[in-house]
């Protein structure tokens, strides 16, 4: 593994390893220390949902979806798109990261009893996440 890949992986709080079909979560990551109990649990759930969404996207996203990453990111809630752009992902990873983040947000929202398309989410992104995750709310 190249040093940059190794560094990126060491810094990650979670990762989907496709060949092993395994989600790994670093619950002892320094970024998660000192959180209050509720925030800590929320972040662990968030990381697990993000990685599961990522896994589904890697397997189910179509070539056109991947190619559409930049355009989809432009339609995403600003905070979400800014974080993905700043994190240094390649353009070919934009769609996977977006699906992962929106999937995690939808799951978190569902945990609060909210279903259906949230008003802050563009319908094209919602339909994409529904198709990839077989989301039926």
């Amino acid at each position: 593994m190249a040093p940059t890949d190794r560094r990126g992986l060491a810094d990650a709080v979670g990762v989907w390893i496709e060949e092993l079909r395994l989600v790994l979560v670093d619950a002892g990551h320094p970024a998660l220390s000192d959180l209050d109990d509720q925030s800590f649990e929320m972040m662990l759930a968030r990381i697990a949902w993000h990685e599961w969404g990522h896994a589904l996207s890697v397997v189910r996203a179509e070539t056109e979806d991947i190619a559409d990453g930049e355009r989809l990111l432009a339609l995403a809630p600003r905070g979400v798109s800014e974080r993905i752009r700043r994190a240094g992902y390649r353009r070919s990873q934009f769609t996977h990261e977006l699906v992962a983040d929106i999937y995690a947000l939808l799951m978190s929202r569902r945990r609060r009893g909210e279903t259906g398309k949230p008003p802050w989410l563009d319908d094209r992104i919602y339909q994409l996440v529904r198709r990839i995750s077989t989301w039926n709310d």
């Binding site: 593994m1 190249a2 890949d5 190794r6 990126g8 992986l9 810094d11 990650a12 709080v13 979670g14 990762v15 989907w16 390893i17 496709e18 060949e19 092993l20 619950a27 002892g28 990551h29 320094p30 970024a31 998660l32 220390s33 000192d34 959180l35 109990d37 509720q38 925030s39 800590f40 649990e41 929320m42 972040m43 759930a45 968030r46 990381i47 993000h50 990685e51 990522h54 809630p77 905070g79 979400v80 974080r83 994190a87 240094g88 992902y89 990873q93 992962a100 947000l105 978190s108 929202r109 945990r111 609060r112 909210e114 949230p118 008003p119 802050w120």
Partner: protein, 53 residues
């Protein structure tokens, strides 16, 4: 042994990243009138069970 494709993990490097993620989610939820406080899971163990403390 077969080599694995280097995965790109979920980049959350600093405490500021975590605060930002929580803040973004809270803002989106509030924008539709949803309480952003984490409701937990029904089967939650006691919070002090987690390894951070």
């Amino acid at each position: 042994m077969e080599r694995l494709t280097p995965p790109k993990g979920y980049t959350v490097t600093t405490k500021q990243d975590v605060e930002e993620i929580i803040a973004i989610e809270a803002e989106l939820l509030r924008s539709e009138g949803v309480d952003p406080r984490w409701p937990g899971f029904p089967e939650d163990r006691k919070p002090e069970d987690h390894q951070q403390k």
